[in-house]
Structures are given as C-alpha cells and as structure tokens.
C-alpha cells in the first residue's frame, strides 16, 4: 500500500517532467488572436490589414518621436509595414508580441533614413521625462541640468539614445524595451543604469 501511495504521488510529477505543460509554446491568451492573424497574413497578404490597423498608431508614434516631420514619419511607417509584409513569411513567433518585431524594423528603417540623410534625427524631449531622468540620477537640481542633459543626449550613440527615449520619453517598461531590442528585461535594466552613470559623470564634469 505504501508503495502504491508513493507511486500515485510521484507519477504525476514524473509525467510533468517528461511532458512539459502543453501551453509552453502556446502564446498567451491576449496574443492568440494575433498569431492567427499573422498566420493568415502569411497565406494571404490582404489579411495583413487587421495587424496594420492594430499597430499603425504605435509604430507611427514611435517613428514620429524620432523625427520632426509628419510626412517623413508617414513615409517611414509605410516602409516599415511594407517590409513587414514582404518578410512576414520569415517571422517566427517567439513569445513576444508582433509589435516588437515591427519596432525592430522601424529602428532599422529609421537608421537607414538617418544614414542616407534623408531625415534629421530629432530628440523630442518632454521636461516631465527629463525630470524622471534626473530623479533616476539622484539629484535635485532640475532646471539647471536641462541644457546639459540635452547636449549629453545629443552626443549619445544611437542605441543608447534609443534606450533613454524609450524609458523616459515614451514611458516603456523594461520588459517592453527588452522585447523591442531583443534583449532580456534585466539586461535592459543593467544597460540603462550604466548609461545613467555615464551621463551623470558627463554632467559632473560639465
């Protein structure tokens, strides 16, 4: 009896070990409909429209945040979705929302435009976001840092600037930043705090 009781306890655990949860590779509920849409778009390009409708707004804003011109933002956003549609057959679901893939395409597309000098890189700073940034750097001298901070941001590498923008001016979570940059949430945190330390040093020197 003791043996059978032990088996009845252990067996489910063994099964669990051998067969991991069937939902392991299944997208979470809020993304399930999205996966169906992506599958449909892979088969028929016209079926991409619901995805376009869903993500046009965030992608457009993401692009426009880095530009000074609505028309250019429109052109780049259109190119982002054309690229997405052309390459959608290559897209594989890895547990991240489809938007993170679109953001990565948007970043590449923006870089192309900046490198070809068809558009000027713009940093759109909100003072509220700047305050948050200063808070993070643990200082209370707000206004006098604005100019220096802006200059410091302008001198950052594109990747670093992107990190600052997403965290402080677009108020994105570290999870989301990680998804967009294809890094872990922790890595996003580590990168940001290292970057803040660097900026702090620059400001002190100034």
């Amino acid at each position: 009896m003791k043996q059978s009781a032990l088996l009845s306890f252990v067996e489910p655990l063994l099964k669990l070990r051998m067969n991991p949860s069937p939902g392991y590779n299944v997208p979470p509920l809020h993304l399930q409909g999205e996966k169906e849409l992506i599958d449909a778009a892979k088969k028929r390009p016209a079926a991409f429209e619901p995805l376009y409708e869903k993500y046009f707004d965030p992608i457009f804003r993401f692009v426009y945040q880095r530009l000074d011109d609505v028309d250019t933002a429109k052109d780049i956003t259109q190119q982002v979705f054309i690229n997405a549609l052309v390459n959608i057959k290559k897209y594989e679901y890895r547990g991240f929302p489809f938007s993170s893939w679109l953001y990565r395409i948007a970043i590449n597309e923006l870089n192309k435009w900046f490198n070809s000098r068809k558009a000027d890189r713009t940093i759109n700073i909100e003072t509220e976001g700047l305050d948050d940034l200063i808070d993070e750097m643990a200082t209370d001298r707000y206004e006098e840092y604005y100019d220096e901070l802006a200059t410091a941001l302008a001198n950052l590498e594109p990747e670093s600037l992107l990190l600052i923008e997403m965290r402080f001016f677009e108020k994105r979570s570290f999870k989301e930043i990680g998804e967009i940059l294809d890094i872990t949430e922790n890595n996003a945190k580590v990168r940001l705090y290292r970057l803040l330390d660097r900026i702090k040093t620059v400001l002190k020197e100034a």
């Binding site: 016209a46 046009f56 054309i82």
Partner: protein, 702 residues
C-alpha cells in the same frame, strides 16, 4: 552621432490620434508590397519604360508620316483627360485590397443583435420591419458539428446609397465580364456567432428572411455576396410579399388587387396569380412567338437563284429509256452539277448501269436536290427471286449517268458567253440494258441478305456484296449512292430563270418586311402592356404605403422574401448599365480654395437608389464617369470624417472629357453617424422617399 544632424525639441505638442489615423493607407502598403514582390515584367517601371518606348516610337512614326496633322492636334491636348500612372496595375492592387471598404473610420451601419437557441425555431422582427424565421435546426461549426446552446444572430440592413457607402459593400455586379451597377431595393447582412466564433447555417434548413424593401418589382433579383470570389452571385428571384394588414382592403383597380385573404398576403392580379410572376421582364407574347416562327419559315422559303453552268465542276445528264423510266422524263434534258461539298460523288458512277434513279428535293430549300442511284432488286421473301415479275421488271430497267461530252461542254460555254439559245437539247442516249450484270441465280430463296428500305421500296443487298458486285469497290461503299446535285441552266434559259427569280425575290422580301412590321407592332403593344402592368404594380405599392401611413402605422412596404442557406450579405437588385455617360477629370478644392486631396468618392444616383464608389489616390485628375440623364450627387470622405459634396448643378456644367476643378461644400463638423450624413446630404431615408413620391390622394377606398 558625429556625422548626424541632431535637432532637439522641448515639449513638442503631442500628435493627435486623428492626425495619426489620417496617415493610414493600407492600399499604399499593398501597392508597395505588390511592386516589390512582382516579377520584373509586372513592375511599373518595366511597363512604364516599355510603354514610353512604344509611345515614343509611335509618336515618331506618326509625326514622320503625318507631319502637318501634328500641330493641330497638340492645341487641344491639354484639355484631354490625363491618366495617372499607377505603381502596379489596378487589377493587381485591387486583388489585394480589402473587398469591403467602409467609407468612414468612425462609424458603420450598426448590427442589431438577437440571441436564439440553436435547434429551436424563432421568429424575429427587426426595428426596420424585416421578419426573420430561424428554423428548428442546429447551426453548424465549420467542421460540420452541431452548435449547441445560445447563438448570437447579428443583422443589419442597408437601404439607400448612404447606407451602401457607409457599409463599404460593393454595389457593382460582374456578369460575363460586363460590369453592371446595382439599382437596389434593399440589402441586408446576417451573421451568426457562438462565443465570438462564426457559425454556419445548416443548408438543409435555411433561414427565411422577409426584408422590407424600398421598391418592389419583377425586375429585381436576389444576389449573395461571395467574398471569396469577390463578386455577387445571382441566386434567383425573390417572392414578393405584402405587409400584413388587419382589415382586408377592398382595393380594385384595373383588375389588380391586393388581397390579404390569399395565402402569404401576396400581391395578386385579376387571375389570382402572383403579380410579380405575371409581369414579364421581356416584351414577348405567344402571338409574337408564333409570328417569329412564321418569319423564320418564310425566310427559309426564300427563292433561290438559278445556277449557271460552271465547267470547273462535275456535270452530267441522266440517260434513261423514257418508256421504262417515265418518272425521269422531266429530267432528260437537264444538266446536273454535283454539289462541291458532296463526298459521296465519284466519277465512277458514269461507268455503271443503275437499276433505279430518283430525284428528290432536299430540306435546304436552296435548289439542291438528291439524286438517288441504286443497284438493288426488289425482294419478295415469299417467292423465289428469279420467278417474280417485279424482279424481271427491275432487271430490265437500266439507267446511266452520263458525263457531258466535250462538245456539250463547249456548247454550254458558248451559250453562257453569248446567250445563244440552243436549238438542240443535249443528246439523251438510250443505253442498252446490261445483261447478266448479276446472275439471277445468285439470289436464292433462303440466302442471307440485308433488306434495306430505299427510295422505291425494299431493296435486297447481298451479305457479301464485294464478291458479287465489282461496282461496289469503285463507288466507295455502297450499291446505293445519293449525290447532291443542282439543276443548272445555260444561256437565255438562265437569264429567263434569273428574271423570274428576281420577281419572286421582290415578292418574298415584301412579305418578310410586312411580317417584321407586324412583329414590331406586336412588341410595341406588349411593351406598353408590360409598362402598364408595372405602373399598376407601383401604384398598388404606393397605395399600400399611404394606407398604412394613414393608419399611423410604420411604413409598410413590400417585402422581398428569400431563403438564406448561408450567413452573409443578400441584396435585392436590378443590374443596370448607365445608358448615356460622361467622363470628366476632377480636382477638388475646399471652401477657402485650397487644394483638397481625395481618396474615397461616392456617386449617389438618386433616381436609381444606386451608388458608384470611386477610389482615388489622394492626388489629382480624378476620373469620374456618371450618367448624364441621372440625378447625381457626389460626396467625398475627407480626413477626420469630414464630408465634401458636389451637387447636380456642378454636373450640369460638365462637358465631355474635360478637366474641372470643383469646390466642395464641406460639412462644418466631422460626420459622426449615418443619420447625420443623410441629413447633411439631404438624402431622405428610403422609406420616406417612397412615401413622398406617392400621390397623396391615391389612397385605398374603404
């Protein structure tokens, strides 16, 4: 960042949601995608370059060929409508574009939602007055399994051009690659959902829908929108059902009545037939059909011209003993010409004697005759062949077909050339009867034989004829030959015959013309009768609605009843083509005169309850085709759901194929819903239009 220009904005005004939405253009994405993915020969630059090269070559060629004409043509070139070069061909882009394109982002024609139980019968009456019967059958999932429990039925109706535009459902019909415009009596969409998942109707038990329509006439058909094939499917004619009226109206007008005592409250004619069925869409009648048949017969009996001698063809005489062959006597002087299409003819027929020959008319009524030749013997199975008198008689009879001799041909040619009447007819030679051609003892009573019925009776053919009859080998297949021939004439005989033929032809043509005039008259009368019937139908409908209006009831028009075997969009329509059209190129300006770009424009054809959607490219020179005899209104959807209108007055000033800049009357505020749009456009709800159009005094006599 060293090589990059950086601009810093502090506290830039956030972009509005609507402004972001204005930049949406999925069509442009699809066009870009198509351009990238197309093979080179389908890309715009390939065709652009090829087209340019061809045009350039053509221009150079034409200029070189016709230098003087060039200067005059260029003067008016600016006025011509210019086409916009597309990135991909319109058909290719259209193939990817969404089929249903709602006009507005902010609103659509709303669905009414009803909860029914799968497997239980349910009657639904919508606020619009449409009646839906859900049968006691289970709905089905896509895999064919039955749906259990509650099912959500969503239903919406589109009755006027504004509804059509707002819903974005296409209102054109492609039949055999001919595009028609839908003149609609009403459209509806019905869908079924279980837990948000679409379910299907069990096709064995279709849903019955009686849709309240804005018009009722036999000219309307039912169509189902096939969203996969991207076209409307004709599914038949609706059954027209009138509104239930509590008290029986005692309406009688020129033999028509609306009866509520008859089944289904259907509109009936004086014979008790459903009126919709009694009105024919074609102007025909049994009398017209009979006249048409007579006309066909008359045309078939048209006189045929006489044939003249042609030496290039096979010609021959029939030579026979007139005592033995009295039936051939009329043909002894006739020259026959073999029909050039006749495959049975072989010159070998000249070489043999035939026991039978006969001439018979063919069915073609073209002067062609059949010459039947045979080498058989009449067979009397009861008696021995050699002993019968008939056999002896037949054996005695011989006939030959004689080719024209060289001098006969020469003389015929001379007569054809100079019209000289021959003093002598072609010689008819009496040929000696062939003896022992086939021995009589070959056929014995009881021998195997095939009995074939031919021209003059039963004919016996030996089973192995090749052994018995050497002729068979040379005359293709048979002892029986039918040759198609024309009797021909020469010289003045021909002239005389031709003159007679001309007289006959004139008389014949007169008869045909009279017959055609008679048919036209009958058609005219039938058309008048049909129009009168249709007018009567419409009057009855107007009376019905006036009556119901006078009873302070909601509009009670006619209903289009049909069975829905599938969920989807159903339309009661009459496909029409605009008879007189004009095409212009339009550029739009706003109230301050600034250029207004447009991507969606809707032509409302008020007198037809029809809509023509035009999708432009936010650019210039927008092509518009419209009916010049119609009551038109064009409205365009602008960013932020503002609407601009071009009225009939503008249409009146448009000349053919010209460019115009049109000032839009723009709505003061964004349009928020369908009713607001109807008010702005001055489009009465369809039901009110119907009531407004009727004669107020023309009400039921009670």
């Amino acid at each position: 960042m060293k090589n990059q220009r950086i601009k810093i904005n502090i506290n830039r005004k956030p972009i509005e949601h609507q402004k972001v939405d204005d930049n949406k253009n999925f069509g442009a994405v699809m066009a870009g995608f198509t351009a990238i993915t197309l093979p080179f020969y389908k890309k715009w630059w390939f065709w652009g370059a090829t087209g340019t090269a061809v045009v350039a070559a053509a221009i150079i060629g034409v200029s070189a060929f016709n230098y003087k004409a060039g200067t005059e043509a260029s003067a008016s070139a600016e006025e011509k409508v210019t086409q916009i070069q597309a990135v991909a061909s319109p058909a290719e882009v259209a193939a990817y574009e969404p089929f249903i394109k709602p006009a507005f982002k902010g609103f659509n024609v709303d669905f009414e939602t009803y909860i029914v139980t799968s497997g239980q019968e349910k009657f639904i009456e919508t606020p619009g007055g449409t009646k839906i019967r859900i049968p006691a059958c289970h709905f089905l999932y896509a895999d064919g399994s039955e749906v259990q429990g509650k099912v959500e039925i969503r239903f919406r109706e589109m009755k006027d051009p504004v509804d059509f535009a707002v819903s974005g459902i296409p209102m054109t019909y492609d039949s055999a690659q001919q595009e028609y415009l839908f003149e609609s009596a009403g459209m509806c969409e019905i869908q079924g959902y279980k837990n948000g998942k679409q379910v299907q109707v069990n096709p064995v038990c279709p849903i019955t829908i009686e849709q309240k329509t804005v018009a009722g006439s036999a000219k309307f058909n039912m169509y189902y929108l096939d969203t996969v094939a991207r076209n409307w499917q004709y599914i038949g004619q609706p059954v027209w059902v009138s509104e239930e009226i509590e008290d029986e109206p005692t309406v009688n007008h020129q033999g028509f009545a609306i009866s509520t005592t008859k089944t289904e409250n259907t509109l009936l004619n004086s014979n008790g037939d459903t009126l919709a069925h009694s009105i024919t869409s074609e102007t025909t009648s049994p009398q017209i059909e009979a006249e048409l048949k007579e006309l066909e017969k008359l045309k078939k009996n048209a006189p045929t011209p006489p044939k003249q001698y042609n030496s290039a063809k096979y010609n021959f005489n029939i030579v026979a003993n007139s005592n033995n062959y009295p039936e051939l006597q009329p043909f002894t002087s006739t020259v026959f010409e073999v029909d050039s299409l006749d495959k049975n003819f072989s010159p070998a027929i000249y070489n043999y004697n035939w026991s039978k020959a006969a001439i018979e008319e063919t069915d073609c009524n073209c002067g062609k005759q059949n010459l039947l030749l045979s080498r058989g013997w009449i067979y009397q199975p009861e008696t021995a062949l050699a002993d019968t008198a008939d056999f002896a008689e037949e054996k005695r009879r011989n006939v030959t077909v004689k080719e024209l001799s060289w001098w006969q041909r020469f003389w015929a040619n001379v007569r054809s050339l100079f019209g000289v009447r021959a003093k002598k007819q072609p010689v008819i030679k009496k040929l000696p009867g062939r003896k022992n051609d086939i021995k009589s003892n070959t056929f014995q009573s009881g021998d195997s034989a095939i009995i074939t019925k031919n021209m003059n009776g039963v004919v016996l053919v030996p089973v192995n004829p090749n052994e018995l009859n050497p002729v068979r080998k040379s005359i293709k297949n048979s002892d029986f030959v039918t040759i198609q021939v024309y009797p021909i004439l020469t010289g003045k005989d021909y002239d005389k015959a031709y003159a007679a033929y001309t007289q006959k032809l004139i008389a014949h043509n007169k008869l045909v013309e009279e017959k055609i005039a008679r048919i036209e008259q009958l058609r005219k009368e039938a058309e008048e009768q049909r129009k009168a019937q249709e007018e009567e139908w419409n009057k009855q409908l107007a009376r019905l609605s006036t009556y119901t209006a006078s009873k302070n009831l909601s509009y009670m028009g006619i209903r289009s009843a049909f069975s829905a075997e599938k969920f989807g969009i159903y339309n009661t329509d009459n496909p029409v083509k605009l008879s007189k059209t004009n095409t212009v190129s339009l550029n739009f300006t706003n109230s301050s005169g600034g250029k207004q770009l447009v991507d969606k424009a809707y032509l409302v054809i008020k007198n037809r309850n029809a809509l023509m959607a035009n999708y432009y490219s936010n650019c210039c020179n927008n092509i518009l085709t419209y009916g010049t005899t119609d009551n038109n209104q064009l409205f365009v959807v602008l960013p932020d759901d503002y609407v601009g209108v071009v009225e009939q007055a503008d249409f009146n000033r448009f000349a053919t194929n010209k460019n115009y800049t049109v000032k839009l009357r723009i709505s003061p505020n964004p349009i928020k819903d369908t009713e607001e749009l109807k008010t702005f456009l001055g489009v009465l709800p369809a039901t009110e239009t119907a009531v407004a159009n009727q004669d107020k005094e023309d009400v039921f006599d009670r």
